[in-house]
């Protein structure tokens, strides 16, 4: 299967300070900001009904809690492996949005990483980066 190309961001989950304190452990009940985990837009029918990546023309496979993905930051080639711990991002709200680093671009939000995972491949202060997501 070819890697899926799009945008990545980050989100907090689990025990947390500030506005993150109300987020909880995610749809899978296992999510923690300090773990290598991510949110995926198609973890269940209920999840898909919220995120609707199909609205943006994306066909994203159904994958459940604990499934492994490998995300590459297209700005620097850094890669991190994570497991599904939540439903998201809400892809349909940002249809067509494009983020680039020079000529390396990604369109549509396809994955949200925990702060630990995102910060392993990019600075948290950038918020959004083009990426590719693979299963190996």
């Amino acid at each position: 299967m070819a890697a899926l190309r799009g945008e990545m961001s980050w989100f907090c989950c689990g025990n947390a300070w500030g506005p993150c304190g109300s987020t909880g452990h995610g749809a899978c009940g296992t999510c923690n900001s300090g773990n290598y985990q991510h949110a995926w837009p198609n973890t269940s029918d209920a999840c898909y009904a919220i995120t609707h990546p199909d609205t943006c023309g994306l066909g994203m496979s159904r994958r459940g809690c604990g499934f492994r993905h490998y995300t590459t930051n297209l700005c620097n080639g850094a890669r991190v492996g994570t497991t599904i711990a939540d439903c998201g991002p809400q892809t349909d709200l940002f249809c067509g949005e494009t983020t680039c680093c020079g000529s390396a671009c990604g369109s549509n939000r396809i994955i949200d990483l925990t702060p630990a995972a995102f910060s392993a491949i990019a600075s948290l202060s950038v918020g959004l980066r083009p990426c590719s997501v693979d299963i190996v």
Binding site: V80, T83, F94, E97, I121, L124
Partner: protein
């Protein structure tokens, strides 16, 4: 990856009192620095080189941090540590009570020699409930967040277009992602960047 080893050795040396100035570690561009990090953590597992929590004490260049899971951490800030607090910032701007995420390398005594520290950083998905003068009122998971526009800093990205300082196109009801800095123990933040959907 020799480059990675060099960088990690520099961090550890700096934390242990070696003569390493900001220029010694600061020559890496941010993206290059993260590309150089080793990621040997099993997917799903906690990253031992990452810390989150709130600062309970500052002693010299050592931050004592209480994790949200109540685990205690020591974080050593060196001349080479990158600090973000709404802007790229300096150690003297860090305060007791601040929340943080930090990444670095563990020293033999368990202290984290910090490569990067993000202070009070939040990345919220929300709806705009109201717009005031230099302020957005956000609905975030059923709670109200007061997001302040900081002149000269706050920027908006409208559906992937380049960031601009004009936030006037943000309207009530729109979904936004807001990257900013929390005001500790309040429901207020300062806005760094607002990403707005079409």
């Amino acid at each position: 990856m020799p480059h990675t080893l060099d960088r990690r050795r520099l961090l550890a040396t700096a934390a242990l009192g070696g003569v390493v100035g900001a220029t010694g570690l600061g020559s890496l561009a941010p993206e290059a620095a993260f590309a150089a990090e080793a990621a040997a953590v099993e997917p799903g597992a906690p990253d031992p080189n990452f810390v989150e929590g709130r600062i309970s004490k500052i002693s010299g260049h050592l931050l004592l941090v209480t994790g949200s899971d109540t685990v205690l951490h020591s974080i050593r800030v060196t001349d080479g540590t990158s600090i973000w607090k709404l802007h790229p910032s300096t150690f003297d701007q860090v305060a007791v009570g601040d929340g943080l995420y930090a990444r670095g390398v563990r020293l033999p005594d368990g202290t984290l020699a910090a490569d990067s520290v993000w202070v009070n950083i939040v990345n919220l998905h929300a709806h705009i409930a109201a717009v005031g003068r230099n302020v957005l009122h956000l609905d975030h998971m059923g709670r109200r967040i007061v997001a302040h526009v900081v002149p000269g800093r706050s920027a908006a990205v409208y559906n992937g277009t380049p960031a601009v300082s004009d936030l006037s196109l943000l309207k009530v009801g729109r979904h936004v992602q807001v990257l900013g800095a929390w005001h500790p123990d309040t429901n207020e933040i300062d806005i760094a960047t607002v990403y707005a959907a079409a």
